[in-house]
Symmetry: C2
Subunit: 303 residues, 2 copies
């Protein structure tokens, strides 16, 4: 490290398929934040470094700046592949992979994703959220649920991610609500908490009826004027119920934490409450930054 006084010691980067976020860090404190919609999925290979520089150039000094990134930036089709690390493993001490750069001011390291052999499963980006969660909740022993496009359920013990399971719940919801025949019957907003929890319970008790229940949303709209808001709540309840049916070995009788966007995390919490589980709810917003800071600190400690 040079003795030059710089605006940032290092830069934290969260780079997914649809978004790019960066923080100018001093230790574990973020001094500035910037973001753009230059997701991995929208860029050509030649566009990666310019997209990053558009956000972080103001924070660079004369020397080489350590940059720690996570997410799809480390996928095979990303900037540079950071091969999956198999569970069980400790997310907070994952070893990042150095990625090639053109600009000599950039020293880019990428956090690897996690894999599981049986049942086959992968994550990329969530490992850093788990590290952040454990930085905020040290010693947590139980199951962490990260709801979203591809929801993750993770067994955690002694700072390790022991095993995990993915459910495509968020993606299924958007495909069915926006791209299927149900799109005319599903509102874009509105809530019906009672319809939601009933749909959750119905699906957990009779998961085999899922495919029939879905089309009934359309039929009830046509025949009985089912409201768009109630249909939306029921679709969400059916799909979250199906996820809870599939992940029952994860949450049954366990200490459960949910970290997501506040609205979605609250929906999962009320779904779990129908099954007698009282989860702890956290806002996932800061977790990626906290996780990158945790992994960065472990690098410095071990250096």
């Amino acid at each position: 490290m040079s003795s030059e006084t710089r605006y940032a010691d290092w830069i934290a980067v969260d780079w997914g398929t649809t978004h790019l976020r960066a923080w100018a860090m001093q230790g574990d404190v973020a001094r500035a934040e910037a973001s753009s919609d230059d997701g991995m999925g929208t860029l050509d290979r030649d566009g990666f470094e310019p997209a990053l520089l558009r956000l972080i150039e103001p924070w660079l000094g004369q020397g080489r700046m350590p940059i720690l990134a996570c997410g799809m930036v480390g996928a095979r089709q990303g900037w540079h592949e950071a091969p999956y690390v198999s569970v069980p493993t400790t997310p907070g001490t994952l070893t990042p992979v150095q990625a090639p750069t053109t600009d000599p001011r950039l020293h880019l390291m990428i956090v690897p994703g996690l894999s599981q052999s049986e049942p086959a499963d992968v994550m990329r980006g969530e490992e850093t959220q788990i590290a952040g969660f454990l930085a905020a909740q040290p010693g947590f022993d139980g199951v962490l649920c990260l709801p979203g496009t591809h929801a993750k359920w993770v067994r955690i013990s002694a700072e390790e991610a022991v095993s995990f399971q993915t459910a495509m719940t968020g993606e299924m919801f958007h495909l069915l609500a926006e791209k299927s025949v149900l799109r005319h019957s599903i509102g874009t907003e509105g809530e019906d908490p009672k319809a939601f929890t009933e749909a959750v319970s119905d699906t957990i008790s009779r998961p085999e009826k899922l495919t029939q229940r879905l089309f009934a949303l359309r039929a009830e709209n046509v025949l009985k004027n089912l409201s768009l808001a109630t249909a939306r709540a029921r679709l969400s309840g059916y799909l979250i119920g199906a996820e809870l049916a599939a992940t029952k070995p994860y949450w049954l009788g366990q200490e459960v934490a949910i970290a997501g966007s506040p609205k979605l995390a609250a929906a999962y919490a009320s779904a779990l409450q129908t099954q007698g589980v009282q989860p702890h709810v956290f806002d996932a917003g800061p977790l990626t930054r906290l996780g990158l800071a945790r992994i960065h600190a472990s690098l410095t400690e071990s250096a």
Copy 2:
């Protein structure tokens, strides 16, 4: 009826969301056939009559031509609404609804769809396939499966459709295979019959695992190079297995007939065979025309 010698006595029309087909009929014999991609979903209201005339004008004479149509042409957003008829009902003797026309040569009648109050369900177009199936298989007593975008299972007894159930299996397959994260892991062709039947059996015995199995296709592709053809067979098996789990009260211990496109009908047959059911398999190709002829004949008989 005029005594004029005409090319056709009447015209049969199958008008769905994505296609338009017409047959020039003499009695129950088709003398000519025409089709276009002027589906209801692609046309404005002003475009319906011109689209029909583009196909059938060569078959019109001087007088008024009876035209019997089925499908989305009778939906609320179609040419003219033909309100649903509730089951139980006899598809072969449904009473069509007359629709307004501008061209005086057209006498358009539309076959109503079927509805069921509890569980709520609807069909539009398949009622005519059922009428056609019963014209070809009079006296059939059992369950008819019509696989497709929205698969229908219909209990049939004494020429009546007694009850029915819809599963969105075909639509789910296309959304997941083409629009979801699985699209990179699912082939566009290729077969693996063993993987298919194993996936069917797995899902029928553990339907609650569906949402986990789906993402595992992606993970096994990334971690274990699961072939695109095997992944396609498994996705199909999982979804058809989920449909069979939902429709078990329909097929268990029943006489089952499947009428679909030959390849899809064969897949459903092999799926049912894993459960000890030996279905009769029919090509659905001619059923709509046969059904329109059956309904047209019943109008003439009752006139």
